[in-house]
Structure formats: structure tokens, C-alpha cells
Amino acid sequence: MLTVRGISRSFGDHRVLEDISFDVKPGRMTGFLGANGSGKTTTMRIVLGVLAAHGGTVSWQGTEIGPQHRPDFGYMPEERGLYPKMKVRDQIAWLGRLHGLDRATAEASTDALLADLELGDRAGDRLEELSLGNQQRVQIAAALVHEPDVLVLDEPFSGLDPIAVETVLDVLRKRAANGVPVLFSSHQLAIVERLCDDVVIISKGRIAAKGSRDHLRRSRAGERYEIVVEEDAGWVRDVPGVTLVELDGPRAVFESVPQQVLKAAVDRGEVRSFTPVVPTLDEIFKEVI
């Protein structure tokens, strides 16, 4: 498990991170959300040791992370870039060797990854000859070539078309399924909603919310329910103790006394659906930041 505890960091007088703590659990995709400038990238750079923290610790399997661990990490920096003039396969294999693989293993791993990322036919091209979306996939390959123990990816999906997102997602899921903790940041909430297991939301340098995606949504559900009945649901407002939030023909959203409302509805006729209203990640995000 990757453990971040009490990280803080300033640039000059400006405090950009304050007491950031969260875990990235093995085998789980952890989405790291936050508005622009909220501290996502700074946090990730600190985890990778590219930037020093002004307080707090980052540990891997209980030991504080040092340079000896980092070659086992896979990192995709926020601002993309590999060597523009180097051939794709040479470049990825070289990075694999730099991370400690021998030449044969690095090349085999490169070929397998490029095939998985559907880049096999571009292996001999220079990076700069590829489209931006394809360069992005090469960047993913660069983070994965050495079969890292931990993956830290800054905005891995930005700039990818929906099909490429699926391709990359498959590759990442495969790693997560093998027990690798995956931390990835994104501002595309729909994607995060769909693919992450855990969520960490950061706002103005502080943790605003964290936990498993489902737990987070349920815990934020509050006392709000939605009922859909056969005919007009206007009667809901007459149930004692109820607060009607929204009424739209046979559909009503209300707060408090759910059992009484349900009972009344059943007495009146058919109930089409009755559910607690679970906020989307988007709604939670807007609420907490």
C-alpha cells in the first residue's frame, strides 16, 4: 500500500499543500480529483520524489520512500514528453533498461506493451511523427515498461479519444488486477466515476473528501429520495413531515420520512420506483470544493 501522511508544501509564501493524507491500496484504481491549481500535480511530484515535501511522509509497504524505491514506480508526469527524435521502440526499451531491466527483457516488455496499446505498427517511427493521441499512449508505455510496483499517472486520459481511453483503461486495469496500486489524476469526472474504485478529492491544497467511490456517494446521499408512481405525485407534499424538493408529474424528490411516503404511495396504487438519491461524483465534487 502507498501511504501519504500529512504532506505539506509551500512555494515561497504560498501554501499549496496542507496536511494531505490518503492511501492508494493494492489492486485498486484511485482517482485523484481536483480543480486546476488545487495541488494534484504537486502531490504526485512529491510522491515520486521529483519535488521535496516540507512536511509529512510518503511510504510504500510501511517504509518511507527513498531513491531506492523509485525505480520500481511507474510515473507519467503532467506535462508530456519523451525524446521527440528517438524511435518509439528504442525509447521505451531504453527507459526499461534505465529502470533496471536487462536488454532482452526490456525489449520483450516493450513489444508486448506496444501491442497492447495498439502501437505495434508505429514502433519504428520517431515519437514526433506520431499524433498527439498516439504520443500519449507511448507515454503510458513509458510508465509501464518496467512492470512497476506502483503507478502514479497525472492525467493519463487527457487528449485521448474514447476508443483510446478504453485501450489504455484495459492496460491499466490489467495492472491493477495484478495487485498494483494505481493513482491517477483527472478532471474528466465521468471517466473517473466509471473506472475508479477509490476517490481522493483535493481542494485548495487540502483533502476535501476521500474513500471508496460507492461509499462516498452513499454517504453523501443524505436523506433525499426519489419516488416514481403511476399518476401525478403531487400528494407527496401532503405527507406529514415531508419536504418536497422537486415535483415532475409522476416523479417526486423529497427529504425525510421515507417510510411514510412509501406507505402512502403503496396505498394509492402502483409504485414504479423508490430510490435514495445518490449524487454523482460530479455533484459531490462541486459540493466539496
Binding site: V50, Q68, P71, E78, R80, K85, L98, H99, G100
Partner: protein
């Protein structure tokens, strides 16, 4: 997973650096031009400079040129001879003047012609130099140019460093291997490349001299080359560490110009200093101990047989010590500035301990 040792990481960086450099067209073009230039410099002077001076001779003056190595053209009148001088068809005219002769030339006394007409007194050299001053100036030019070429070639290190900063691959690199391994690898890669080029040039130079018919010079040049190579290599490490810092201080290729000035000065300054002062033994002797100029000045002195082997060794020692110090300074500056982006990093900020 197996760890990459510092040495392995350095070698991997060096290997990539060399491979990248060897696949650029500019490198090969530059190298071929250099070899061609070397041939031109040694072969051309003998091809063009060997002719006898042309003179026009009038009447009785012809007796003084008999049997002399001059290209003589006899004309009838003094006016005709003067005209040939004016039109630059001959270097000088030799015309009767009273009982003797007079030499007519355009604007300078034609020393080559005059020396043929007078009986020079015998000369005895107490310490004959095996190397003529012409040969020495050729050596100064060649050593200087080679040094300049490789020194400026070090700019490739600055460029490759900026590329890494600009593309941010540097973040992946520093999270993988020590920053010092990056610096060491870059310098090592370019030192090997330079050494390989020098070896090729050192093999080609004797061939060029032989083609030019200067075989006797070969005996003098070869030992001097033996000194030039170590000086060149240490000098190259010195400037390459500076180039690396120049690259690390900026974030974009376009800004490189602002930090390259000092390094260019450190490369070109010595070149010009030696070109200007090489005739002055005292200044040359001082320059042969100053680390930046030693790379050219000491091998030139060795070539001209003005210095003893121990002097070269002392100078090489000073140079090596300077290299060690500069490397330490450069590695701190490089580490301090590599991850700083946005604009140019001030030296003081690069030097400051990491936050």
C-alpha cells in the same frame, strides 16, 4: 527487480547520448568537413606556394638572374617591364641602373626576389629549431581549430539537457536514476565521441602530411599530437560540464542563448588568445598553465620544443584538478536547476540547497 547501479545508469545515458548524436546528419557533415579542411590546410600551401617568383628583366640586367630560381621573362624596355609590374603579371622587374641593377616592384619590397640577388652571409644557428615559424603557425591554427570545434561541439550537451527539461522527460529520468548519473553519462558519452573523432583525425593527419610531402614534419607532429590528445580530453570535460549547466539553467531551447555566452567565451577566448600571442614565448608559457588555454598553448609549446615534458605534466595536473573542482560545482548547479522550470534559473538559486 534488479537495480540499475550508478555506473550502469551513467553508461545507459552515455549510450543514448552517443546514439542520438551519431544519427544526426549535422554531426557527420561537420566531421567530414573537418577532415577535408585538415587535408586542405596541409596540402594546399605546398601545391600553390612552390612556384618560383616571376620577374621581368631588361637588357644587361639579365646577367644577375642567371642560374637563380626565378621565373624570368625578358622584355625590351624599362617601360614594358614597369607595365608588367603594374598589371601584376610579374612580382618585380629588374632593370639596369647605372653600373648595377635596380628592382622595381609595386608596393612592397619583393623579399623573395631580393634574397636571390644578394649574396647572403653564411648563418650559423647555435640552437637550430627543427620547427620553422611557418610550421608553428600552422600547428597553432590546427590545434586551435580542433579545440574550438570540439569545445563548441559540447553545445550538444546543453541542447540535450534542454530537450530533456523542455519535454519534461527529465521528471521520469530523475525519479529513476540519480541526477549525477545523468550528468556523468552526458559528459562520458560526448567524451567518447570526441575521443573517437580525435583518434580518426590523429590517424588522418599523418596521411595528409605524407600526401603533402611533409614527412619530416611528421616526426615532430606525432609526439605533439600525443600531448594534444590528453589536453584536449581534459579541456573538453571542463567545457562540457559548463555546457551541461548552461543547458540546465533554462527551460526552453529558445532561451539557451542567454546562458551559452559565458561558455562560448570560455571556449573561444583561449582560442583567440593563443592565436594572438603564440609568437610571444612568455605569454604562451603563462597560458600553457592556465586551465582554459592550456589545452592549446601547452601542446603548441611542446610542438615548438619550448617546453619540457615535466612542464606538460604539471600543466596537465593543474588542468585535471580544475576539472575535478568544476565537475563538483557543475554537478551541484545541474542538480539544483534541472527540475526548476519557467524562465532562466539564477545561478544563486541553482546553487542553493534543495528545499
Amino acid at each position: 527487480m534488479a537495480r540499475t547501479s550508478f555506473a550502469q545508469a551513467t553508461w545507459l545515458v552515455a549510450e543514448r547520448e552517443m546514439r542520438t548524436f551519431l544519427t544526426t546528419k549535422g554531426f557527420w557533415i561537420g566531421f567530414i568537413v573537418t577532415i577535408a579542411g585538415l587535408f586542405a590546410l596541409t596540402v594546399l600551401p605546398t601545391a600553390f606556394g612552390g612556384d618560383d617568383p616571376k620577374v621581368a628583366v631588361v637588357g644587361s640586367a639579365s646577367r644577375v638572374v642567371e642560374g637563380k630560381p626565378l621565373d624570368v621573362r625578358e622584355v625590351a624596355t624599362v617601360e614594358e617591364a614597369t607595365e608588367l609590374v603594374r598589371s601584376d603579371d610579374v612580382e618585380a622587374a629588374i632593370v639596369p641602373d647605372g653600373a648595377g641593377v635596380k628592382v622595381v616592384a609595386l608596393n612592397d619590397p619583393p623579399s623573395g626576389v631580393i634574397s636571390q640577388l644578394v649574396d647572403a652571409p653564411p648563418v650559423e644557428l647555435l640552437e637550430p629549431s627543427e620547427v620553422s615559424s611557418a610550421q608553428r603557425s600552422v600547428t597553432v591554427i590546427v590545434f586551435g581549430l580542433v579545440f574550438l570545434m570540439f569545445g563548441m561541439g559540447g553545445a550538444a550537451i546543453a541542447q540535450s539537457t534542454v530537450t530533456e527539461k523542455q519535454t519534461r522527460i527529465v521528471e521520469i529520468l530523475v525519479s529513476t536514476v540519480p541526477v549525477r548519473a545523468l550528468l556523468a553519462g552526458k559528459i562520458l558519452g560526448h567524451v567518447i565521441l570526441t575521443l573517437a573523432q580525435v583518434v580518426v583525425l590523429a590517424l588522418v593527419a599523418p596521411i595528409a602530411l605524407r600526401v603533402a610531402g611533409l614527412s619530416e614534419l611528421l616526426a615532430v607532429v606525432v609526439p605533439a599530437l600525443g600531448w594534444f590528445v590528453p589536453f584536449l580530453m581534459f579541456g573538453f570535460v571542463l567545457v562540457s560540464s559548463m555546457w551541461a549547466v548552461a543547458g540546465a539553467l533554462v527551460s526552453r531551447q529558445e532561451d539557451l542563448g542567454s546562458t551559452m555566452g559565458l561558455v562560448m567565451l570560455a571556449v573561444m577566448g583561449p582560442y583567440f588568445a593563443v592565436q594572438i600571442f603564440f609568437e610571444n614565448p612568455a605569454v604562451l608559457a603563462v597560458m600553457s598553465y592556465v586551465p582554459f588555454t592550456a589545452g592549446i598553448a601547452m601542446p603548441v609549446r611542446m610542438f615548438a620544443q619550448q617546453a619540457q615534458a615535466w612542464e606538460a605534466l604539471v600543466s596537465l595536473g593543474i588542468l585535471a584538478a580544475t576539472v575535478a573542482v568544476i565537475l563538483l560545482v557543475a554537478s551541484r548547479l545541474y542538480t539544483g536547476s534541472l527540475l526548476q522550470t519557467g524562465g532562466r534559473v539564477k545561478l544563486s538559486k541553482a546553487w542553493a540547497p534543495a528545499e
